[in-house]
């Protein structure tokens, strides 16, 4: 092998504390090194040209550049050596800037360390092999998981871009949390009026297939070629026949069913359509409450259904689809606030969540848009809003800020005044976080025009005063006094967490998630929509707390990523993947068990069982290599011998 070593000065960044010339000279003593030099700026055009020239002049078969971090310029120099005719993997970098010159000023120690790092790079390079990527076909369709506003936007944008979309929603209707809202901040425009048309577009778009009441059971495969199993849950209504006429819901005798869509603020029937604008507008039966399904006696809905759509024998159905990409848009749920025993832990009827309050405000809600107390149906005159319930609270393990509660609380205070002009609202807050466009102005309006009392402090306890009202024990930290408010209704701005079950989905998608279940993006700043699993993108609150405009924006961004991915007809894999040496494999299967990606299978090779890596699925982590006792499976570009060469260079006494 003929190796060339290029030591970069990086101006004075490296040369200031490393003797680059001496380092280059020392490299000449290393085995296989035939050429070594130092350059001012290796990554600049003249530096790259010097490398190319040297490859030609000295017939180099491998190149080591000692400069900055490979995370910075490895791709640059790989392209350089490739231009000069070498395989891009016959190249190694020694990081003598971030790991040497920038972290100490001792010239002797730094130079010695630089020489050793160059030695390690040479030792590794001597074990490197050329690697070649493979190209493979892709399926140009996308799976969108979750039909909230982010998922709807992503689905519509992909569909408009000509990509077939499969939209999976676990509830009977799309629309997500936004469909439950009355108005939206800071414009106070009607939520249903702006979301409704988009929901209709989803139903009518020729490129979108919608599976409501469905969940993703399993996903296998890799970017470009995912196989997805979707579970269509039994609704006991044949949706191809149902017209959404609603006759069944009128006649259903089981009328005391908690209304999930209304956040249990009202009752509904065992067969129902969640709300008038539901998409798909189809009835479904809640088997827990249906008399026919629980006792076998009833069957009224089947009798009255004009299209004979009711089918009490319906079972869950699994369908399989192939897609090339996945957008996760699973949104959020409220945390279980009943851990706050000091707020009654859920036993006081007039202490409700903001989402429940939203349903009270909503004209299509259980009270027809009249604000009344759940306990006695009376109109409240004094309403207390408490922010950060289940947010920014380490004592219950939730230090995160839920982000949008400040704004909707201001909105709800404004709406309360609109609905009940002689009412007074109080908001207990710690900080007002109103960073969006026109947001701060909106909270000021709530205070200045609507007379909302903002009180800076947390609430220690809520208790009924025995006269039908509630005592809220709080503090005004600006005044430095403990204060109490006697009120009729308490609305808690309950913190959010990732949608229940998000972590299970993350495991199926092989993406990471944090302790609250939010999915991890590829890079917090530069890859906010991607995940570390190629072909899987994120939209909306499933990635972290967001308001509606940000969710919509990320939905569009995810769609753009999918469209960019599908702009090519074939994809190229990364050749830094594992390979099995069948001559050494004893088919013990340990690698198959450990692979996080299911990228290794058992196959018969000349009458014997052997492990086999599926090239396009392998992500190159190397867990298999460190698991295989006899070293039969090796991760290319990080083989045992390549790593041992570095260890042995450093430790040889």
């Amino acid at each position: 092998m003929r190796i060339g070593v290029f030591v970069c000065h990086c101006g004075s960044n490296i040369a200031g504390t490393v003797d680059c010339k001496a380092a280059a000279e020392s490299a000449l003593a290393l085995p296989d090194v035939v050429y070594a030099t130092d350059l001012m700026y290796t990554c600049a055009e003249p530096g790259q040209a010097a490398i190319e020239q040297a490859i030609h002049d000295y017939n180099l078969t491998g190149v080591v550049v000692a400069s900055c971090s490979p995370r910075m310029h490895e791709p640059t120099f790989r392209r350089t050596v490739e231009r000069a005719g070498l395989n891009r993997y016959m190249f190694e970098m020694a990081n003598i800037r971030e790991h040497v010159s920038w972290i100490g000023k001792d010239m002797v120690a730094n130079t010695n360390k630089a020489c050793e790092l160059i030695g390690m790079a040479v030792a590794k390079l001597r074990n490197n092999r050329p690697l070649y990527a493979q190209r493979f076909d892709i399926t140009k369709s996308v799976l969108v998981i979750g039909g909230g506003v982010a998922g709807i936007q992503a689905a519509l944008d992909c569909a408009d871009g000509g990509i077939p979309v499969i939209l999976v929603e676990k509830e009977p209707t799309i629309g997500g949390k936004m469909a439950k809202l009355d108005k939206t901040f800071p414009t106070v425009d009607c939520s249903a009026c702006i979301l409704g048309p988009k929901m209709v577009d989803v139903a009518q778009h020729p490129n979108i297939t919608l599976y409501a009441c469905s969940e993703v059971d399993d996903i296998t495969g890799y970017v470009g070629n995912f196989d997805v199993k979707i579970r269509r849950k039994a609704t006991y209504v044949d949706w191809s026949k149902c017209t959404g006429c609603g006759t069944c819901t009128e006649k259903c005798p089981s009328k005391k069913v908690p209304d999930r869509f209304n956040e249990n603020m009202g009752l509904t029937t065992a067969i129902n359509i969640p709300f008038p604008q539901a998409i798909p507008k189809r009835a479904s039966i809640n088997p827990q409450y249906c008399r026919k399904l629980t006792t076998g006696k009833c069957g009224i809905c089947a009798k009255v259904c004009p299209t004979k759509a009711i089918d009490y024998t319906m079972k869950d159905e699994i369908i399989t689809v192939k897609v090339g990409s996945v957008i996760a848009a699973t949104g959020y749920d409220l945390m279980d606030w009943t851990v706050y025993q000091e707020y009654g832990g859920g036993k006081y009827p007039d202490v409700i969540t903001s989402l429940q309050y939203e349903r009270l405000l909503n004209a299509s809600g259980p009270t027809g848009g009249h604000i009344v107390r759940p306990s006695d149906g009376k109109e409240p005159k004094k309403v207390v809003f408490i922010q950060c319930v289940g947010s920014r609270d380490k004592s219950i393990g939730r230090p995160l800020c839920s982000g949008f509660c400040c704004m909707y609380t201001a909105k709800q205070a404004v709406l309360t005044k609109d609905h009940i002009p002689d009412s007074q609202s109080y908001v207990f807050y710690m900080d007002i976080r109103a960073v969006g466009k026109l947001y701060d102005e909106f909270t000021r309006r709530a205070i200045e025009e609507y007379g909302t009392e903002y009180i800076r402090g947390r609430v220690s306890k809520i208790y009924p005063d025995g006269n039908g009202q509630y005592v809220v024990c709080g503090v005004d930290t600006l005044l430095g006094q403990r204060i109490e408010v006697t009120c009729d209704l308490v609305v808690l701005a309950v913190g959010i967490e990732a949608s229940h079950g998000a972590s299970h989905l993350a495991e199926k998608l092989r993406i990471s998630y944090d302790q609250y279940g939010f999915f991890l993006e590829g890079h917090p700043k530069l890859r906010p929509v991607e995940t570390n699993t190629a072909g899987v993108f994120l939209a909306g609150v499933c990635q972290g707390t967001k308001d509606i405009p940000s969710s919509v924006a990320q939905g569009s961004a995810a769609a753009a990523k999918v469209l960019a991915l599908f702009s090519r007809d074939k994809l190229e894999n990364d050749p830094q993947i594992a390979h099995v040496n069948p001559a050494r494999c004893v088919a013990c299967g340990k690698c198959i068990r450990c692979c996080p990606f299911g990228a290794i299978k058992e196959e018969t090779f000349r009458g014997q069982l052997k492990a086999k890596v599926i090239d396009t699925v392998c992500q190159g982590c190397g867990i298999c290599t460190s698991t295989c006792p006899q070293g039969a499976i090796q991760l290319s570009h990080a083989t045992d011998n390549e790593i041992l060469a570095e260890v042995n260079l450093l430790c040889q006494y």
Binding site: G345, K461, D465, G466, N467
Partner: protein
Amino acid sequence: MNIGYYPGCSAKGSSLDYELSSAAVCRELGLVSSEITDWNCCGSTPAHAISSELSAALCTRNLMQASKQGADVVMTPCPSCLSNLLHAKERMKNPEFRKRVDELLDEPSKEDLPEATSVMQMIGRMYNTGQIAAHVKMSLAGLRIAPYYGCLMSRPADLMNFGDPENPTLMESLLAACGATDILDFPLKTECCGAASGIPHRPLSSVNSGRILELATRMEADCIAVCCPLCQMNLDLRQKQAGRQAKTRFDMPVLYYTQLMGLAFGCDEKELGLDKLIARPDKVVDKIKALNTAVREAQGGKA
């Protein structure tokens, strides 16, 4: 299990009735314990208010005395004493602290001091609902009881081990076992009554106990059931002071839960120290009797 009994100083004075009724209830249930012969004051609030080491020294001596007479566990009716004993036991795990405390003691402390718990928890641990109900001669059904624990019994939660620090329910279960049906969901059950400042700063205790008495009155409680001598004294003996502060007059009997259990077990009123209460418990006793008579008559009528 060898149970050492630590009465606490107030048992011999201001809460003689607690002591009497606890003894009666334990006797009825068959809960046997032996009083720590040579016990001393735990130091109460004043000791830990001025020095954790002094407080721990006083408590450690008690635990060591208990240990000497072979007790595996020390049981006390008083939450304040219990809190001090448990705090001491916890702090003594720190070797530096232990060394400082040992300097104050006659002999160095033992490594494994006995456990400490409340009489209430011990009853709860040893007898299930059925076993308690078996002793009931006069049901508490129909009596509106406001259960009140005070601030010490349930917190700090990890030390006192008394369930949810915001909403303990052990007293309710014991009373329910005695037939009580109308136990109020009393929202202030763990709020502080301010007793620790009763003598040096009267308004502090009057305001806080007034709030508790007021809510109990408004919720139409027949009585407040308590488990802490300090709370009892504050709510009962100082009821007039609280009334004056709130510009009203309260008439709310404040009974120890053991007195209520004792009544249910059919113990003699004197034996339960009912005569020691300032706010007369007569209407409570009368109501229990009346309700039981009514039930008996109704059953008799049917038969």
